[in-house]
């Protein structure tokens, strides 16, 4: 079946089997391997992308369902000139990642989270990323990374990125 969709602002027309998962189209057909697969039950969120601006799990959407729609993946998040998005900066400077496998999904989810709620509480952040599993970090620094980006987006000085010890 022929479909046309925009991925990271580039128009693609592709012939796909109806059962092709959107995540496979992104990874295999378009070679955008920043979007990952971590489970088969729509649990882990590693495959999170933006579909018409909404964060969704691309392992549970058929590629044909994206026909005529616009997809954004992690590869489009930094500026064309290489400058990092506040979330990318936040994850890097607050040690919000270890192995990096969940990170693209976390960042894509967080983009929408901050769009809907520019100044979330810690609790709102935790619930907001509850569809994304991270096995390495224990989440504390991911929360901090998102708070950092929230502050940056709002033009407020983010909290220190130095680790705080008791």
């Amino acid at each position: 079946m022929e479909i046309t969709l925009k991925v990271n602002e580039v128009q693609h027309t592709l012939d796909v089997e109806p059962r092709t998962l959107l995540v496979h189209l992104i990874r295999e057909n378009l070679n955008l391997t920043g979007t990952h697969i971590g489970c088969d039950t729509t649990t882990c969120g590693a495959c999170t992308i933006l579909l018409d601006g909404k964060s969704v799990k691309s392992c549970t959407i058929l590629a044909v369902q994206a026909n005529g729609k616009s997809v954004r993946t992690i590869e489009s998040v930094a500026g064309a000139d290489g400058h990092l998005h506040p979330l990318q900066e936040g994850f890097k400077d607050n040690h919000g990642l270890h192995c990096g496998f969940c990170t693209p999904g976390m960042i894509m989810r967080s983009i929408e989270l901050l769009e809907n709620n520019p100044n979330p509480t810690e609790e709102e952040i935790r619930w907001g990323i509850s569809g994304n599993l991270c096995r390495c970090t224990g989440y504390n620094n991911i929360v901090k990374a998102i708070e950092y980006a929230s502050a940056k987006n709002r033009g407020v000085e983010p909290a220190s990125t130095e680790p705080q010890f008791v």
């Binding site: 070679n31 489970c39 649990t43 040690h95 990642l97 270890h98 192995c99 599993l133 224990g138 680790p163």
Partner: protein, 790 residues
């Protein structure tokens, strides 16, 4: 405050340098195994057994072969022709690659389907028809030990039972005597359940065999690439694939935690298929396959006993373990230590008598067990001792913090000889616990608890003061399949003063690209930013045993420091030559040598490196490179003092972790930010088995929670806000005084949580609950004690 000897520009030890590897990960440019695409690559999928124990009557591949895109279906009979149907495990046991007649656990590999696409391979997998004759599975390890039970490993000639090995440490007779005379003896039966590392990236590989050159490149998710190259050569050498013809490449790894140490059948099948068809073959597990078939962790049944005085002096401990290994012993332990380092179970306490024994048994469950972010079996040991310490305090009515303070090994007593034979390097347990108590406000919490109890509310405070044992290991005692457990570093400094350093370890998120660079920066004064770190390619990196058991910093980190010091010695010689003074007249400060008393006579490390290529003394070897294989003189013994505070909903059994304070002692800290990150992550992998995770099997050996919908990996909502800090007692025998930290929190935190919950429930006569302690378990315990609804 952590003192730094180097400037921020150099960023040696103690600096919270931002991680060098992150720039690719945050932009989706990490390079994981499933991102690899090679010309003509085929895809493999695996048909698995629905039964835990069954005879294979027939495998019909005819329908599968008709599926468009399917090019081959491989069974055990096919591999048998090449004698590739069996392989060794790391514990020198044996394991089927593909079965020829019997399946031994649910989800065992039965046939491999090779196709031109992932989708076709899956269709083919579904079309393979296997006829089974199910047999009565043996699932309960105690039953499996019963001499009347049927023998599972009939493949082993002469095997008459399901017993794998017996192992012991300590003094049995002396322990029995102390126990028989002790005023107080406490005992609990506990199970540390079967769990799964469940790294977010599953396992997988691309096996790329080049027929013309008889050369295999194996891209794979492995924590130990060099050892696996050797294993592959041992398995496949007889078909001409000898070790110089094998290159193992471990790309970025999406979490390991021990689950990516073993050789899984899928890897071997992929190699065999690539060898036979001459094309690259990719195999990537599904999550459910990963959970259901890859190595589990733990599954220790422990009878734990502690003897002491009425006043609270610990006199002796006795631990008896039954280890359920499933179908084969596929643990990842050093050869001489089939129960790993479980004999660290005497803990942080000063007493001289202990006996530890373990027996291992086969059952119809998947093979294992690997670590789960834990040095070899140390989590099981720590859980046993820390639970029993609280149990003893409860028995004699003494505050568990005070009891610990009264029994700790004193800092002046290190090196300390444990009753099971270990020599603890250093520690200050009193300082750690005191700090944790001060931070959490221990005395006030105990007061609050008294008030809450009077109101009928359930609140608990739990402590764990653990000693880890990591950094295997001294080669005299530690080997994996006969290969001694050293590790390596190779540093090459280019003429312009920038360096590349390669290691035998392999980061899975630990941040080696940053911390190793910082160690070298500390020793040589070359900015860490200018030091490129590489690991994971057996063609380029020096041989090493890999990253697990918190061993990278203790071994490869030490190797980096020693190799850098060799280079500093060379730099000193060149400086003496260039400044025309004797070596003794030179003084070093990070990044330069200068003449004592004449600091203007100076040569920077960059100038000295340049001279090593352009202007070096007659007779000196050119270049600026060094390699070191570090064989540690002893293990390192990180420790920690953790305090957890919980509130329990007495109607639902719901458990809320209100506070968790973790004070760790991992010796000198290389990068505080990374150490803290490791502690955060490790703590969440501590609360996971303490409250959520367990692989559950029914009586027929069917897994009941083989997906992430029911295997409950904590989210950000379940994970508490951790409060972390440290005390520092450097390891006296380690070149940079570091001890390793990646696993301490996973090892140390489950008993703190369990102790807190039991502390809350202890007024009702509840003395122990097995982890994971769920609301249901709490409710049930209250109900059984007649305390529910009261």
């Amino acid at each position: 405050m952590i003192q730094c000897k180097t400037s921020k520009a150099i960023s040696g030890m103690g600096h919270s340098m931002k991680r060098k590897e992150d720039i690719r990960f945050i932009q989706g440019r990490g390079h994981y195994v499933d991102d690899i695409k090679l010309d003509g690559m085929l895809y493999m999928d695996i048909t698995r057994s629905p039964y835990a124990y069954a005879k294979i009557k027939n495998i019909d591949i005819s329908e599968a072969m008709k599926v468009p895109g399917v090019v081959a279906v491989i069974t055990g009979k096919d591999l048998e022709k090449y004698n590739l149907h069996w392989m060794p495990t790391i514990m020198s046991d044996t394991q089927m690659v593909l079965p020829t007649d019997t399946v031994m656990y649910q989800a065992q590999e039965v046939a491999a389907v090779i196709a031109t696409s992932r989708y076709a391979a899956r269709d083919g997998r579904e079309a393979v028809k296997v006829e089974y004759e199910p047999m009565q599975a043996l699932v309960d390890p105690f039953k499996a030990m019963d001499p009347s039970s049927p023998v599972l490993r009939t493949d082993k000639p002469g095997k008459t039972d399901n017993h794998i090995w017996h192992w012991e440490a300590g003094d049995k007779a002396k322990t029995e005597k102390v126990f028989s005379e002790a005023a107080v003896v406490v005992k609990e039966q506990m199970h540390i359940p079967r769990i799964h590392v469940s790294s977010i990236e599953t396992c997988g590989c691309v096996a790329d065999y080049d027929k013309i050159n008889n050369h295999l490149t194996m891209y794979m998710t492995t924590q130990a690439p060099h050892v696996l190259r050797t294993v592959f050569a041992l398995v496949a050498g007889h078909v001409g694939l000898t070790e110089e013809k094998i290159r193992v490449v471990s790309p970025d790894i999406g979490g390991g935690f021990g689950g990516k140490v073993p050789v899984y059948p899928g890897y071997v099948i992929a190699i065999a298929v690539s060898f036979l068809v001459g094309k690259p073959v990719k195999w990537i597990e599904d999550r459910s396959e990963n959970l259901q078939a890859d190595s589990f962790a733990r599954d220790y049944h422990i009878t734990a006993e502690m003897a002491g005085t009425k006043e609270g002096k610990i006199l002796a401990t006795r631990f008896k373990v039954l280890a359920d290994h499933g179908y084969t012993d596929a643990a990842a332990n050093p050869s001489k230590y089939p129960a790993g380092l479980f004999s660290i179970a005497t803990g942080s306490y000063d007493y001289g008598t202990a006996f530890v024994e373990a027996d291992a048994v086969y059952t119809n469950k998947p093979p294992g067990g690997v670590a789960y972010r834990c040095s070899f079996r140390v989590t099981e040991a720590v859980h046993a001792i820390e639970r029993m310490t609280d149990r003893y305090a409860l028995e004699i009515g003494k505050d568990p913090a005070q009891l610990r303070m009264d029994n700790f090994i004193k800092k002046e007593d290190f090196p300390w000889h444990s009753p099971t034979g270990w020599i603890y390097d250093s520690g200050d347990y009193h300082a750690g616990l005191q700090k944790a108590m001060d931070v959490v406000g221990y005395a006030d919490l105990r007061k609050e608890q008294v008030e809450k109890r009077a109101k009928g509310e359930l609140m608990g405070i739990g402590i764990s003061t653990f000693t880890e044992i990591v950094g295997a290991g001294p080669s005299k005692d530690f080997d994996i399949l006969g290969i001694k457990m050293f590790d390596s570093a190779e540093i090459r400094v280019h003429p312009t003063g920038k360096a590349i350093a390669r290691f035998g370890t392999k980061s899975q998120g630990q941040g080696h690209e940053t911390t190793y660079a910082q160690i070298i920066a500390e020793e040589l004064g070359i900015p860490a930013e200018n030091i490129q770190v590489e690991e994971g390619d057996t063609d380029t990196a020096p041989y090493g045993l890999g990253t697990y058991a918190s061993r990278s910093t203790p071994t490869a980190g030490a190797a980096a420091a020693v190799a850098a010091r060799k280079l500093r010695d060379k730099a000193r010689k060149i400086a003496a030559y260039l400044l025309e003074v004797s070596e003794d007249d030179l003084e070093w400060e990070p990044g330069k040598f200068f003449v004592k008393g004449a600091p203007e006579k100076v040569k920077t490390i960059q100038e000295l490196v340049f001279a090593a290529y352009t202007n070096f003394p007659q007779g000196m070897e050119a270049g600026f490179e060094a390699t070191h294989y570090y064989d540690p003189p002893n293990l390192t013994f990180p420790s920690g003092a953790y305090i957890c505070v919980v509130d329990i909903d007495k109607e639902t059994g719901g458990i809320h972790v209100r506070r968790f304070v973790a004070i760790d002692d991992c010796g000198h800290i290389i990068n505080p930010m990374i150490v803290q990150g490791q502690v955060h992550g490790g703590l969440t992998q501590g609360i996971a088995p303490a409250m959520y995770e367990e692989l559950i099997y029914d009586e027929a050996g069917n897994i009941l929670n083989g997906t992430l919908m029911d295997y409950l990996v904590p989210t950000a909502v379940e994970s508490p806000k951790w409060e972390t800090g440290h005390v520092v007692t450097p390891s006296p025998h380690h070149p940079i005084g570091a001890k390793g930290v990646g696993e301490s929190p996973t090892v140390g935190s489950p008993p703190a949580i369990a102790n807190a919950i039991i502390d809350a429930l202890s007024p009702f006569g509840i003395t122990h609950l097995d982890i994971p302690i769920t609301p249901f378990k709490v409710w049930k315990a209250l109900k059984e004690k007649g305390a529910y609804g009261k």
